[in-house]
Amino acid sequence: MGETRKIALTVNGKRYEEEVEVRVTLADFVRHQLGLTGTHLGCEHGVCGACTILIDGLSARSCLMLAVQADGHELLTVEGIAPSAEELHPLQQAFHEHHGLQCGFCTPGMLTTLLEFLRDNPDPTDQEVRIALSGNLCRCTGYQNIVTATLDAAKRMRGAGAQSA
């Protein structure tokens, strides 16, 4: 085992203190050391977007960060998106209803990417959704249903926001 460091971070609201090897990527750390295997690894060089997670609310490719760099930060992975074990997030619900996934490999990265996007842009156009997803590859759907699901989720989330406000 090479050089290690102790890091403290919050993942999906839960606090972790872990000893990590300094060369381990954040993606491998999240999957193998924390056991959160919802984050998927496709290409491991920053092309496919499957490993996207939110760091302090901003999307990043976890294969392009070292675990040590997450020290002191707050992470959100796909496991932390749903409000409870019984209930899906409106974005997940829309993916389910509109067939926004087939094999599901790219879905964790799609959801995290879109969560940030819809927060910053709650009423996007079809074209804006497509640009937002340009860094996430899907080999099953042809993207059409992902775009449809996203636009529907945006509508539901705007409705929910208006109700609570």
Partner: protein
């Protein structure tokens, strides 16, 4: 040790290295001076893939992400100064950049994707020096000034002297880039950044960046045209600039002037043959000038663009 950690070791891609996370520029310079085979880690959007592939095998990684005072955007006296660790995202969302260096905003929307711009830094882009990188093209187009820190303090170098070879900046192993300055063009200047890539967010196969200023009569008084993705680094199309400066803009003028781009040196690789890039350079530079000129006309008529 938990069993998952055993798996983690098999899953590891980057080669072994020692990790350093200095807090100051002087500490960083000290590390660079004392360590052999060290690599600086900025936003990691190019270095991390290279580590995952083991294209690079540094003995030491010096992480700049916790160095204080390297992330800022300052616009003073007609000059935009950007700290080397400023994220591409921060530039994209900067109001002052959008208002006074609008081509930077336009170019940034074509730099990778949201996920990579959230991490990628301007200093990292400049030092990685990819021939097709948008921010590198802008540094060439604006004649930016790069600030470099080393054991003897700071030095400044004009961007024209920054690239020394393919993906090789003119910085010594014991130096780091700390900032870059972009001069402002007149309030009524016009601009356009156009690139051709296979998919949105991919590196450009070829790009063109144009800046224009005109006098009251509409005659071009100043022009900057930069072609990216052609040679070993983005470079100015001087022949085009000279051909259009002092002239009244017209589609014929732009078309004829941009033909000279077909003579520029171009790389031949898996993405496109040299002749294709030369063709793109002529077409994209013409389109960039046409778009910039349309904006110039709008600005002079007081129409927003």
């Amino acid at each position: 040790m938990r069993p998952e950690a055993e798996t983690a070791r098999e899953e590891m891609k980057p080669p072994p290295f020692r990790y350093h996370d200095p807090r100051t520029v002087s500490e960083t310079v000290g590390l660079l001076a004392s360590l052999e085979n060290a690599k600086l880690l900025a936003g990691g959007q190019s270095l991390m893939p290279m580590l995952n592939f083991r294209f690079v095998q540094p003995d030491h990684i010096i992480d700049l992400n916790r160095v204080e005072g390297l992330s800022y955007i300052r616009a003073t006296g007609g000059m935009l100064e950007i700290g080397a660790m400023t994220r591409q995202r921060d530039l994209e969302f900067s109001d002052v950049v959008r208002a006074r260096w609008p081509i930077m905003h336009e170019a940034l929307l074509q730099v990778g994707h949201r996920q990579t711009r959230n991490r990628g830094t301007i200093g990292g882009s400049l030092c990685h020096l990819d021939p097709a990188a948008e921010l590198v093209s802008l540094a060439a187009g604006y004649d930016a000034t790069v600030t470099v820190a080393g054991p003897n303090g700071e030095r400044e170098l004009p961007f024209a002297e920054f690239p020394v070879a393919y993906m090789t900046p003119a910085i010594e192993p014991n130096e780091l880039v700390t900032a870059v300055r972009f001069p402002q063009w007149s309030e009524k200047h016009a601009y356009a950044f156009i690139e051709f890539s296979r998919r949105h967010g991919d590196f450009a196969i070829t790009s063109a960046a144009a800046l224009l200023e005109a006098d009251g009569a509409g005659r071009i008084t100043r022009a900057s045209v930069t072609i990216g993705g052609m040679g070993t680094a983005p470079s100015r199309a001087r022949e085009v600039e000279q051909a259009i400066t002092g002239q009244a803009p017209s589609l014929e003028l732009f078309r004829d002037a941009c033909e000279s781009c077909r003579k520029l040196d171009a790389i031949d690789d898996v993405h496109a043959p040299a002749s294709y890039r030369q063709h793109l350079a002529a077409v994209l530079s013409r389109r960039a000038l046409e778009k910039a000129h349309a904006r110039l006309t709008d600005a002079q008529a007081g129409r927003p663009h």
